[in-house]
Amino acid sequence: MSRVEQGARSPYITDNWEVSGEIYRNPGVFAKEMRNIFGRSWVYVAHETEIPAGGDYKTAHIGLQPVIVSRDSDDGGIHVLFNRCRHRGSAVCQEESGNSNFFRCAYHGWTYGNDGRLIGVPFDDGYGESFDKSKMGLAHVARVASYRGFIFASLDPEITDLEEYLGNGRRYLDFIADLGGEAGIDLSARAQKLVYRGNWKLQIENTIDPYHFSFTHQSWLDILKERTGKSSPWVKNVRTNSEWRGIDLTGGHAVHEFGALGAERDTHGIAIGELIPFNLNIFPSLAFVGAHLRLVVPRSVRETWVYLYPVFPADADEATRDRILRDHETFYGPSGAGSSDDIEVGFDRVTNGLEADGSPKDWTLMARGLNREELDEETGMRIGRSSDEVPQRAYLRKWSEMMEADA
């Protein structure tokens, strides 16, 4: 195969944006992704409102690395710690979330503060003079930073600062963070957790994909028609509304706007939460759609978890919370009309089809809209029509660049 444009070479993607099926199937590719992508990116782990008080903690993953995200009991800072006892490797935190000033390993009783410090070793006469407790705390993940309440961590000590990394995605994160005005937003609604048997990138590619909506989700459009008495303007907008556009924000991030940010507009009218007027992908695994924050957690080349957190403006009244929750539940989640159809059509069936690795045409086509995308030379951003695959190419560009980077 030939190289990707702009000098970013990849053995998996041609200049014509044919993408090898191997990237969804090959365990070697997955292992490299864990090092090159999840090992060298800012990965979202928590929202500040999930761990508001000193001692609060939750567990998370950075790639396959199990971590604890905790709020310091004394100074209120955030720690992201490997969930692994320094003695014989046991996971020390067994709960998904909670409040505790310490974590005690059940194996030999080693005890750590929630800042990771080793504070107790039973029978410590078994270690000589050289045993330095201060060096035996839970290991910290290299970098932690919070932007507008969204907490990210990175395994790469050399990574660029979070704000710079977020780049052109920042104004969309600002919009979301500002939804509750002074009160901010909160994730107190908890999260639905999905699992599917397929590659994590299938979810990324499905998150910003207006093209599929009227096919996969025709039954939902039928429901909307029954509710309102008329056909949804969705398809017409996807086909003809120039304000509905997919944008490569560079850095692997992408957005689909349903109208210019901040402008007066009708909602996109598909009753999926109607809180966030765009679909946003922050590379590699964070997204915002409808009224929820979406986190993609890769587990293996053919297993992926997806966590869906409805977002509340913190000062939302009961009627607003009810609308957000009911709109979210009817479309999203394991029993949601949208998510369940996406799991079947976008993940299961694609995974089954991609098993045909003997096909002489073992690639997917990510070329939609190549003939009509607009490149802003100054910023590097690309803008495409609503149904075009600009967002998919946005993340695959970054993916290629990072996969081919030397160690």
């Binding site: 048997r197 539940e329 029993s335």
Partner: protein
Amino acid sequence: MSQTTTEIDRQSIADFLYDEAEMLDERRFLDWFALFTEDSHYWIPLAGTSDPQRHVSIIYDDHKLLAERTKRLSGHLAYAQIPQSRTSHLVGNIRITEADSDEITVTSRLVVTEFRRSERHVHSGLQEHRLQQVDGGFRIRLKRVDLIDNDGRLGNLSIIL
């Protein structure tokens, strides 16, 4: 417990739950929906501590949303059910926990075995019905299912439990 509850009532309540299970296994979703009152809910919470006004659920359908759900499942465009699931609903451990002239609360243990795309799945947990007595039968005001894995990772859960 109210003195009006008798052995006969217990059997007819059990029969009602068994009839409900058969309807679902026979995919008679619209008949099943007709069992629900206009002020009813079908609720699958995410956790035992869920408050549906504050926390997201797996399902929290009022009558209108449940109408849409059952109609969608009865059509041919719900891809999550193409191919269709084969289910077997087992209802047991039926206990009447409260009864007055207006409403009867029944808990039971539910085990739904599902076979789809060559895989078997088991969904099980505690089920609670709030039933209204009507014309010698019952209507459902609340069907709540607390799955044992409700806060775990779930896949395509498009069947009715």
